[in-house]
Subunit: 318 residues, 2 copies
């Protein structure tokens, strides 16, 4: 039997759970509804039930990594604040899980976990430094320097989603305006697409055919429409990628990493995003850092569980 | 005799030279004109003449740190590019100085050197992480994590001056627009002051009295005028500090350092800059990192020579 760690990645709707080997291989996985309104204790009960049943079937883990979207106090093992999980901040997740499961437990921001998973498994820990950016409903990030995840003074290093790319800019969920997330997060992308569709009733024919109910629009449909030659969908990606490029350029100038990795569902847009990002990078003067950085999209954009498991292992067992 | 290192800090007009102890104390200092148009070999000759005369008088150094404003290739010991020193990029400064002076030599970006000097001497290496920002003609920066200067993949980490704070924004010397330097660098501050003076012929009475020739305006005069109650000068600092705050906020969100230090001549404006920066930090939602960071201006804003000397020592002798 391989040695294992459990990893959990809690999003606003679903929580992914995985049993992961030292090499980052997923031996078993499951998904439970997050159901945030039932509260953090209820969620903990349901999570422990799944992991307990895995154990009874012989999956014995040495550590548990618990990743959540939000401002995580890594030192104390709880959430400080989060937009998607009302009532969850302050709940002592790490200590509760450690006690219930009798496992060394580490709590981490979900973007940090996803970036660490991609760094350890997909990149084989080769670049000495990395900025990873998770593109989903929200936009998060993580930074690796000298092969170590950077947590910063309060565990919030890598928080690129709420750096600004426009003045005053579009409203962001955080209450501010002009944040990168307001452009490159799912809701920002869909807001732009709907606006372009309203402004051009004759435009976006492929898109309208693929998705007659525009309320059901997703980044995935936008990508398919762009692939099929829809100019409106292509324009959405061009503009999204440009704003993403502005935010990434500033981060790369500041941190000067070897590699820059896009993760999360929206990163599946691949070249539709990478092309405008590369153009923004090329256009910047003083761009030594921008020309040196290796930019790509992750092959497995959903490595949050894996990263959480590996981080927990490394911090508690090695 | 104390053990010594030499430190050099080359600006566009003058180069400062110092003999520095391990504790960062300056035992001797001098200044020579940079005279960039005479070329890098001429400058090297004149620098070696000064250091040679110091040696003949008994100042024996163990290392030389050579800091220059611009994009420094730390690995190869030469400039990649710089706006102020035409013809200097490509010249093998480090190797030439090492050979001529027979001293282990390290070449470094001037902002990195200044930040390291302030970190080592003024902050006593206490914060685990720091962003230092140099405010002068240009705006530069340096990042310390876990007590080590971060150079990044190409030696350009900390390059905050050309991150963007406005769109499209004011023109910057680098050829782009909206860079932090276009607002918080000396020329950006003076551009704003002159614009306000032109727009309000009855405004800025104290400022006009202190500086009848507006071509001779400096940040120092603007600070004195603000101290003496000039509302126009106060407005210049308020607007400058606001733009500075926007740039610093993004950097702090990304790196999440314990401390944030302003250095360079413009930082002598002290509270005139710190107040609006703190306001911008307070106004940001999702601001755990912004509320945790300790913000101050350096007491000795010109520690570039000291930092260059200490860096050279640590990298070559310890």
């Amino acid at each position: 039997m391989s040695r294992l760690a459990f990893g959990v990645d809690v999003g606003g709707t679903f929580a992914k759970i995985a049993a992961v080997t030292r090499a980052g291989k997923v031996l078993r996985k499951d998904e439970i509804p997050t159901d945030p309104h039932a509260g953090p204790a209820d969620f903990t009960d349901r999570l422990c039930a799944v992991l307990g049943s895995w154990r009874r079937r012989g999956l014995r883990a040495e550590a548990l990594g618990f990743a959540v979207a939000g401002d995580v106090d890594h030192e104390r093992g709880r959430l400080r604040l989060t937009p998607n999980l009302p009532g969850w901040p302050g709940y002592p997740f790490r200590d509760a899980l450690r006690r219930r499961l009798r496992l060394p437990t580490v709590m981490e921001n979900d973007a940090n976990a996803a970036v660490w998973g991609a760094y350890a498994v997909e990149l084989g820990r080769r670049p000495r430094s990395l900025i990873g950016v998770t593109l989903g409903t929200g936009v998060g990030g993580g930074i690796v320097v000298d092969g170590r995840l950077q947590r910063g003074a309060t565990g919030t290093a890598g928080e690129i989603g709420h750096t600004r790319v426009a003045w005053p800019g579009e409203p962001c969920r955080c209450g501010s305006r002009g944040c990168l997330e307001a452009y490159a997060g799912t809701y920002g992308i869909l807001r732009l697409a709907r606006r372009l569709l309203r402004a051009g009733p004759g435009r976006g024919r492929v898109l309208r055919r693929l998705c007659p109910n525009l309320k059901a629009l997703t980044p995935k449909v936008l990508r398919t429409a762009a692939d099929q030659g829809d100019p409106l969908a292509a324009e959405v990606w061009e503009r999204t990628g440009t704003m993403l490029g502005l935010g990434l350029a500033d981060a790369v100038m500041l941190v000067n990493p070897e590699a820059l990795l896009l993760l999360g569902g929206v990163s599946r847009a691949g070249d539709w995003l990478l092309r405008p990002v590369r153009r923004v990078f090329r256009e910047r003067p003083f761009g030594t850092a921008l020309r040196a950085v290796s930019l790509r999209c992750a092959a497995d954009p959903d490595g949050g569980c894996v990263g959480a498991a590996l981080l927990a292992w490394e911090e508690t067992c090695l």
